[in-house]
């Protein structure tokens, strides 16, 4: 099962002929993903190591039946390809691009939500479902292992760190999702928690939050109302000074809100096991499921 992407997902890459687009399309295919096509206007008829290229997402969908898209395009032009994917009927859109102006993201997000599609990111490592051998993103595939833990995170490398710990402890993952480090992103914690709740394969969830915004507080509220599966959380940025952007555009404490302390308290109140030491996530999950 897993969530969002699986063995049946038919994936295209928008920007497939670019350096990153080619590299990661092939890496995804190597992992097992059904990479059925790519889009680069003007290059229809070409192939990228056997993957056919189309002028428009519409053509790609018509010819390949694609339902998932992985987007690599420059931040200045990322709005249009996301809208194109939605319009062509793509269900799950993974936007890797970093540095998209938030007003652009907000604008496309309106249409994504109106049309009932799923946008992961922008500024995300993507999504991977190890039991389904499907990876749609830039995460190193080899650190993952099929299993019962769902991972949701606002951070990329921090997710790798946690997944690596889990795998080393012998605890596999159902689906791992990076929500993206921007202030405005598509799917949020609550959206993904709802999916994990309904996914029989997922037995526990690791939630990796960070300072800024109130997504973790909302997740806590949702979990409190009866999520029904154990959640282990870690919140990065306890030392962050207010007003400073900690790398991620979304990681900023402003006006006393968005602090790690507030988030930790909210999650603990919701019955979530909040880990202080990031290096203990693996062992805690092992104990929990063992």
């Amino acid at each position: 099962m897993a969530i969002l992407v699986n063995r049946e997902s038919r994936v295209i890459c928008q920007g497939i002929t670019g350096r990153n687009g080619t590299f990661h399309s092939l890496a995804c295919r190597d992992y097992g993903t059904k990479m059925v096509g790519g889009v680069t206007p003007g290059k229809q008829g070409e192939f990228v190591d056997g993957i056919p290229v189309f002028n428009t997402v519409w053509n790609a969908v018509q010819e390949t039946g694609a339902d998932v898209s992985l987007i690599f395009v420059p931040a200045a032009h990322a709005k249009d390809p996301i809208l194109e994917a939605v319009d062509a009927g793509i269900q799950v859109i993974v936007c890797i691009t970093e540095g998209i102006p938030p007003l652009d993201t907000a604008s496309v997000l309106y249409t994504v939500r109106e049309q009932g599609r799923f946008l992961i990111g922008p500024n995300t490592p993507g999504v991977i479902s190890p039991p389904e051998e499907c990876k749609v993103g830039i995460m190193p595939g080899y650190i993952h292992k099929p299993g019962p833990v769902g991972v949701i995170s606002r951070s990329g490398t921090l997710t790798y760190e946690v997944v690596d710990q889990l795998t080393r402890e012998g605890v596999g993952q159902s689906t791992c999702i990076g929500l993206g480090g921007d202030p405005i992103v598509g799917l949020g914690f609550v959206d993904v928690l709802k999916m994990f709740k309904d996914d029989p394969q997922t037995e526990a969830v690791v939630l990796i939050g960070e300072i800024g915004g109130s997504a973790e507080e909302e997740a806590a509220e949702y979990i409190k109302a009866g999520f029904g599966k154990p959640v282990v959380a870690y919140i990065a940025g306890r030392l962050a000074p207010p007003g400073k952007r900690m790398g991620h555009a979304g990681a900023i404490i402003s006006g006393g809100s968005g602090t790690a302390q507030g988030k930790i308290k909210a999650l603990e109140d919701a019955g979530v096991t909040v880990v202080q030491n990031i290096t203990q996530v693996g062992t805690i999950l092992k104990d929990l499921l063992g």
């Binding site: 540095g99 938030p102 490592p125 760190e161 960070e210 915004g213 990065a236 030392l239 962050a240 290096t279």
Partner: protein, 387 residues
């Protein structure tokens, strides 16, 4: 990117918002002349620093023309101003805004942000301005009206009107407030702002005037507004942070002595937290990014090596796109160039880890490789305490 009050006012005035008469001065004599030109009994001197809380910190002074204006200007100009938001080192004041003093009948608040949850531009308004929005939210939560703007429809007249009539019953005043809201909204949209705030917006007789204004541009949108870079006041930003940004790094100075290099913002924050958990104090946040080059890694090392507070360098890399061998080469190059022998604790993991490890071992440099992140952090803390 923060703008100064005078810059914010200029952007709003260009779109029709009324602001007090005044001018910007860089030395006390200029200040005296500017004050005289206002032909008024009293003027206000406003230090231009990137920080709130200027009022309480004495950065805003109403002075009578009887007083020695040059002396009053000299009290601030060229000094560092410490407010509750600047940190103890304060920020330098190189410019003073000299403005007329207006009669105030009413102080209101107007602010525009992009709300995260709804992903919509949100207008906040209150008939009680002059205090900061957090205080207002605490003290008079039911006197803050928030309105969301449809992302495709944009600001409609009726929404601006509804806000305006909540701030004033007078058609004359409300109509002016509508124009102010439209000007703020247009500024927000046209310049990719993250904040446009007028606080207070005052009623003075029959006029509506922006007494103070604050605009912050979103860094991700700056590429669309290269002309705004000319307005960047580098004196208000930390020079190390600035040079790091130029190198494509994300660097923030902290108070400790353990220099940190990490890839990824989340992992970098987690690294600081871990060091702190073990009783250490990080000297910085430094994210080299997901796909840093050897050059960028070298630049990052140089920043830490140039910082004489740093007693030990802690490298924590989970290589994904960033390969461990690239990292190793960058670190080794920087260490060799620099003649300082600073201890380095490295925990590296991920793509090409074996090559990276071998490069470090063969370098003969004082780089200690520790496989466990927890152990590595503990070790860095110990080293920092003993050096």
């Amino acid at each position: 990117m923060h703008l100064h009050e005078y810059q914010s006012k200029e952007l709003l005035a260009k779109r029709g918002v009324q602001v007090p008469r005044g001018s910007l001065c860089y030395d006390p004599l200029e200040g005296l002349i500017a004050a005289r030109q206002l032909r008024s009994d009293k003027v206000v001197l406003k230090a231009q620093v990137h920080a709130g809380g200027r009022g309480k910190a004495g950065a805003v002074a109403v002075v009578s023309m009887d007083e020695d204006i040059r002396a009053r200007a000299a009290e601030v100009l060229g000094k560092r101003m410490v407010t509750e938001q600047t940190g103890p080192q304060g920020k330098p004041v190189s410019a003073l805004l000299v403005e007329e003093v207006l009669h105030i009948d009413k102080e209101m608040y107007l602010g525009i942000i992009l709300s995260r949850g709804s992903a919509r531009i949100t207008i906040m308004a209150s008939p009680f301005g002059g205090v900061d929005i957090e205080t207002l939210a605490r003290d008079k939560p039911d006197q803050i009206y928030t309105t969301q703007v449809h992302p495709l429809r944009g600001l409609t007249d009726y929404k601006a009107r509804a806000i305006a009539y909540r701030l004033s019953d007078s058609k004359k005043i409300a109509t002016q407030i509508m124009d102010v809201i439209a000007a703020m909204y247009n500024t927000f949209l046209e310049l990719d702002c993250s904040l446009v705030e007028i606080n207070p917006l005052i009623v003075s007789g029959e006029r509506v005037v922006a007494l103070d204004a604050k605009i912050t541009l979103d860094d991700s949108g700056l590429f669309r507004h290269p002309e705004m870079e000319l307005w960047r006041d580098r004196s208000q930003e930390d020079s190390l942070e600035l040079s790091a940004k130029k190198d494509g790094l994300s660097y923030i100075k902290l108070d400790g002595n353990i220099g940190c290099i990490v890839n990824g913002a989340g992992l970098a924050m987690a690294t600081l937290d871990l060091i702190s958990l073990h009783g250490g104090a990080p000297a910085n946040f430094l994210d080299v990014g997901g796909g840093a080059s050897e050059q960028v890694v070298g630049d990052a090392m140089s920043i830490l090596l140039d910082d004489n507070r740093v007693k030990v360098i802690f490298i924590n890399i989970f290589g994904g796109i960033l390969r461990c061998d690239v990292l190793a080469r960058g670190v080794i190059r920087a260490l060799r160039r620099q003649q300082v022998a600073i201890p380095v604790i490295a925990r590296i993991e991920g793509t090409n880890i074996h090559v990276g490890r071998r490069l470090f071992e063969e370098s003969g440099l004082p780089v200690q490789m520790i496989g466990s992140l927890d152990e590595a952090a503990k070790r860095a803390v110990e080293v920092a305490k003993t050096v």
